[in-house]
């Protein structure tokens, strides 16, 4: 059970959150201008790193805010949490 630091509420149990997949995959500005392949890349392709991974979480049963987390997928360590619109940290 991860302890996730909600930027609005503080650290809370993972069970209060829902997972939203990889972060920083913006909705394309003009989908109609994209080729099928470019659109498919937006729809279906996500990174699957072993190590730090920026991902979206929503504090569903509390403040209901979406925010971003950098989590090491190998150790489950939460390296950072930041609000939507804020720049993510540089993880070396």
């Amino acid at each position: 059970m991860l302890l996730i630091p909600c930027p609005w509420c503080g650290p809370r149990d993972e069970a209060e959150f829902t997972y939203g997949g990889q972060a920083h995959v913006p909705y394309p500005r003009d989908p109609a201008a994209l080729t099928d392949e470019e659109w498919a890349r937006y729809l279906f392709f996500r990174d699957n790193p072993k190590g730090p991974h920026a991902e979206r979480w929503c504090h569903t049963i509390s403040c209901r805010r979406w925010f971003n987390v950098v989590r090491d997928t190998a150790t489950n360590e939460v390296l950072a949490a930041y609000r939507i619109g804020e720049a993510g940290p540089v993880i070396s």
Partner: protein, 955 residues
Amino acid sequence: MPRQLPSSAHPFRLPTGGRIDRSRTLTFRFDGVAYTGHPGDTLASALLACGVRQVATSIKLGRARGVFGVGSEEPNALVRIEAPYAEAMVTATTVELCEGLVAFGLPGRGRLPDGPDPARYDAVYAHCDVLVVGAGPAGLAAALAAARTGARVVLADENGELGGSLLGRGAADDWGARARDELAGFPQTRVLRRTTVFGYYDDNYLLALERRTAHLGAAAPAHVSRERVWRIRAGRVVLATGAHERPIAFADNDRPGVMLASAARAYVHRFGVAPGRRAVVFTACDSGYPAALDLAAAGTEVAAIVDARPQAGLWAQRARDAGLPVRAGHAVTGTSGDPCLTSVAVRELRDGEPTGPVAVVDADTLLVSGGWNPTVHLFSQAGGTLRHDPARVAFVPRECRQAVEVVGSAAGAFTLAECVADGARAGARAANREATEADLGHVLAPPPDPDDIGGGAPPVPLWLVPGPDEPRTHFVDLQRDVTVADLRRATGAGLSGVEHLKRYTTAGTAHDQGRTSGVLTTGVAAHLLGVEVSALGTTTYRPPYTPVPFAALAGRDRGALHDPVRVTALHDQHLARDAVFENVGQWKRPWYYPLAGEDMAAAVARECRAAREGVAFMDASTLGKIDVQGADAGVFLDRLYTNMISTLKPGRIRYGVMCRADGMVLDDGTVLRTADDRFLVTTTTGNAAAVLDWMEEWLQTEWPQLRVHCASVTEQWATVALVGPRSRDVLSALAPQLPSSSDDFPFMAWRDTRVAGVAARVCRISFSGELAYEINVPPWYAPHVWEAIARAGAPYGITPYGTETMHVLRAEKGYPVVGQDTDGTVTPQDLGLGWAVSAKKRDFVGKRSHARADTARPDRKQLVALLPDDRHTLLPEGGQVVADAPLPAPPVPMLGHITSSYRSTALGRTFALALVRGGRERVGQRIYVPVGSVLVPVTVAEPVLYDPEGARRDG
């Protein structure tokens, strides 16, 4: 000569000693025989005191087995408890004796009790600065040092008493008692006895099972939950989980009478029980000697100490000084008995091979010490890595990213002084302070340790004593009956990793999770493979450390509390009309309302007729409702719905479909414009929360600049659907101010008015094709309005109807239900809802995907109706659709499947909706639905079977 033990009901009970209450006697039954014991006994110690050697039989081979250990490491003595509580399979060593206990030995596996478990179980949350697991010397020291700093401390131990290896050991026990007393004085410290920490998860989240009442037997108070699961979030964790002694694989090492040396000591000290009359001790480390000396002091004759090490050192000298015969450089090569141990075969050990003549030593007890395995299970679960320490012949903790420290013998420290000092330092450190000498003051000064004689001889790795025959009785895992021969077969088959060997042989997979067998398996396998033990490593330890009943995990979340039950404001009205309910998500919805003598089909046919021919009403309150407000609300809804919403006029209603970005249908419903900057969106019952989440996700993550707010108002409105050609007559009587003509109150419009005197919002929406209204009122007025409708409709034979009739009516009209006729792979176009997909809008979520090659291809599965040739055949929902009869050879191409299937009163026949490949092109064609061994012929039809012209919606 041995001191004569008292021959009584307790032939093996020592005259003094043990932490038992000899002033009280408890009666119990084992395998149908009555025995007695004392408070403080476990079932195992009481059986041993009574001279019961065989407790169970083994799982595969049915071999006789006795008590082997003293705690949760026990692999042999499995029992079923029948009274005063029921347990399917527990170890006799962990069952605290209580009055009236009834237990039976098991043949290796248990059987669940027949009846439901009447006990209550519970869950508790705890947060602490320091969690200490294990209350032996290291754990007590750690907890004390942490508690003295004022930290919030939780100390958990699986036994009934704190003290671990100190228990019953004179001056050392007094030290433990002082530590226990001091801990009890800290208000911030919580001591959990009979509590096994069984799982260690991310970010120092640990689960523990507290057994609260079993030891009280029939005296357990009814208001106390039987067991509860502690969910503990700890700042830092100190693992003082101790070590388990390791057996050695030799021939017939499983006979009743063979026991771990440390267990035998514990029976003497903690329970005042002699494990036998005449013992042989077989050891590969110093631990066998103090056990031998303690047994001798307790009156058991020690016939021989067999030490695998040629140079046995200081301890051997001590034993010889005490008159105990020591055979250094020897090994036990086998045992005899029928089935309980009567003699032991001993031979010289040279380069790991038994050699020379066999000495047969009479003995009823054989103590074994192959060395020690630090109990690293929780550390390993936490993600910690292990390393092999060749000097200690043990796997010890290496490192872990979590805030955890391992102390005492769990970390490989085996003297009492080391354990206490180690624990105290870690406890203080865990509480964020370096321990000073003052912290480690008089109570933490190490207790006297009779085992510490200032230098012993190093242990040797001894896993296997070969011979004399095939190693078919050289047991590695007693609980799984896995032998060296099994391991040899596995390595012979080419398996060379411990994880594979474990799965191939099942070694380490039993209820004891390989506590005694795990490292031995590695050792024997390394020997067979000719590799280093360090290279082979251990298998991964996973939760739970000890078995946890499902009932305890479920806690209170069962029966009515398993999941919230939602009922509408009209629930009592439905009960009064004898509704049969169905679960829709968490909601209880009326399914149908049978009259006396009616079955479901008759009730639904009657309800359908009322809606089509007269008037009927239903509770539609469970539909999700979302209030969408803000200056940009129209823009926002345009982006989420496939059709145009912003052009809707206040007072009007539009049907809308939402897609995911991949173009598949997410939900559908109606949108009411209630003001220029305000909409009321309805969703399907099951998707109410998901659609609100969906809206919030887009608003927060993609369009934060939009001025829009959403709120769920599902439970702020109760909704009654009034349906049928006479619905206008009923409503006119109740809402005289409402325009009755379709010109003034057209289809897909809403009006605020009063219904039965109550402020109401009335919508002209139809999910049946008939003239229909949806009447929305605040929920506390709903019963009044419902009953008023019932009275006003009585002259027209108004009939309440449930979800089954609703489904028949909507399916006759070809209206799909999201989640029933769709499954996340269906586009609006597939459903025939292309008319609701805007071609004009530049974009909406899902639009780009509708132009993908895959979503645009003509042979996609499309929603059509299927009409069975036989008008009475009801097709099964989920049934497959195929093109040809008879069936071609497999694999048979599947055209699709049936999503909805009903009997229609209006059509006078059965019908179904189905998703069929290229379905619209197949209208009029004959295809087939395999049902069992029969191919049911059906004809494909347009999905709107009833009133395709839409002539009935205005009444």
